[in-house]
Symmetry: C2
Subunit: 229 residues, 2 copies
C-alpha cells in the first residue's frame, strides 16, 4: 500500500527550501498526499531549490519546479544584484528591501492553478506574521482576502467546494516553529534559510533570515545545523 | 514630446490579441501610457501572441511576453490537445471546457507584480460577464475580490495608494465592444479571436469565440475582417 493510498486527499505545498516551509511540509504530510511547488524566479539564492527537492524526497512528496520570468518580480534585494541584502541588523523598515513584488500572490496563483488541475482543495504556505510583519503579503488579512478571491476564481467555488489556504505558522515564533518541526522529524540540516546562500547551500550568517534563524535555535536551545561560508 | 510625456501615468494592459483586449488597449491608451502583457501558456493558438505584438505597436505601447510553465494550466480544451474545442454551438454548460484553470488569476498576478515594479496603480483586463458568464474568473464579484486582495498584497495598499483593476467591457455586448473600438480606431483585422487559429492567424469560424465574434459584427452591421482557413 503506497503512502498516497493512506491519504486520499491531495494538498499543494509551497516549498522554498527554508526552515518555515520545511516545517509546513511536515505538518501537511500528516494528513495529505503532498505535491510540493518550488519557484525559480531569478532569486539570488538558487541553492534553496536543491534544498526543496531534497525535502520533498524526504517526505515522499511529488515535486514541481515552476519558472517565473526574470524581471516580473524585480526591484527587490532578493532579485536585483544592485540592491544589497542588509546585514547584521534585522530590517525594521516599514517594508524591508527584501520584500519581493507580489511574490506570495504569484506563488499562490500558480498553486491555485495546479490545485485546480489536480482536484485539490488545500494549499499550504509558510507565511509568518511575527518575524515578517513588514511584508504585506505575509499578513493574515492578505491570506483571508486571497482565499475569498480564490473561491470566486475557480471551479471549486462554483461547485460549492471550499478551497482552503492553510497557514499553520502564521502566528508562531521561530522557536515554536523549530519545536513543531523537530517533533515531526524535520531534518533542518537539509534546509537553506539564507537570502544569499552560495551554490553549496552555505549561509552568510548575517542577513535578516540568518539572524532570525539563529535566534530561533538559541531560544529552543538546540544547535543549528546550518553550514556557513 | 513623446507620447508618454502627455500621459504621465502608466497602466498595465492584459493583451491577448483578441477583439476584446484590443478594445481595452484602445480605451486605456486614451488616458494612460500603456505597457501590454501577453502570455505564452502553451495555449493552442499561439498566433494570438503575434497579433498582440502588432496591436501594442499600433498603439505605441511597450510589450512584454510572459511565459507560464506548460502544465500549470492544464485540463482545458485550450491547453490540452486531447480535449476538443466545441464547434458550431456556443457552449452553454455550467463551466465551458474552454475554461482554463485560474487563468485570469495568474494573468492578473503577473500584472500585479509588473505594476508594482513599474509603480503603476492601474491594471486593465478585458473580461466580459455577458458572453463568458460560465467562466468563474470573468464575473464582477471575482474582479472585486481580486482588487481587494491586491491592495492587501502589495506596497501600494500599505502606502495608502489604491490599486485599481479596470474592466471597461465587463457588462458590454460584443456589438457594443466593436462600436467602442471602431470609434477609437481599432483595426480589428489585426486581432485573432479564434480558439484554434492557425499559425497565420486564420480562424476556424466554428468555435464559441468565432461564433460570438461573427454575431457581434452582424449586429453592428459592418463586415468582419477575420480571415478563415
Amino acid at each position: 500500500m503506497s503512502d498516497s493510498d493512506n491519504k486520499p486527499e491531495k494538498a499543494i505545498v509551497l516549498l522554498s527550501g527554508g526552515l518555515d516551509s520545511a516545517t509546513v511540509l511536515a505538518i501537511a504530510n500528516e494528513r495529505f498526499d503532498c505535491h510540493a511547488l518550488s519557484f525559480d524566479y531569478a532569486q539570488r539564492s538558487l541553492s534553496e531549490i536543491n534544498a526543496a527537492q531534497r525535502l520533498a524526497d524526504k517526505f515522499s512528496a511529488s515535486f514541481q519546479l515552476i519558472h517565473i520570468d526574470e524581471g516580473v518580480m524585480a526591484g527587490s534585494a532578493l532579485t536585483d544584484d544592485s540592491i544589497a541584502v542588509p546585514e547584521d541588523a534585522v530590517d525594521e523598515g516599514d517594508i524591508p528591501v527584501t520584500y519581493v513584488p507580489a511574490r506570495n500572490t504569484l506563488f499562490l496563483s500558480h498553486a491555485l492553478a495546479v490545485a485546480e488541475v489536480m482536484s485539490s482543495q488545500d494549499i499550504f504556505i509558510g507565511v509568518n506574521a511575527v518575524d515578517y510583519s513588514g511584508y504585506p503579503d505575509c499578513r493574515p488579512e492578505f491570506i483571508r482576502a486571497y482565499e475569498d478571491m480564490a473561491n470566486l476564481a475557480t471551479r471549486a467555488g462554483v461547485e460549492g467546494k471550499r478551497l482552503r489556504i492553510h497557514t499553520p505558522l502564521i502566528d508562531k515564533s521561530k522557536a515554536e516553529i523549530i519545536r513543531m518541526g523537530d517533533a515531526l522529524g524535520v531534518d533542518y540540516g537539509l534546509t537553506v534559510s539564507c537570502y544569499q546562500a552560495n551554490a553549496e547551500g552555505e549561509a552568510c550568517g548575517h542577513c535578516d533570515s540568518c539572524l532570525l534563524r539563529q535566534k530561533g535555535f538559541e531560544e529552543v536551545g538546540v544547535s543549528d545545523p546550518t553550514r556557513y561560508f
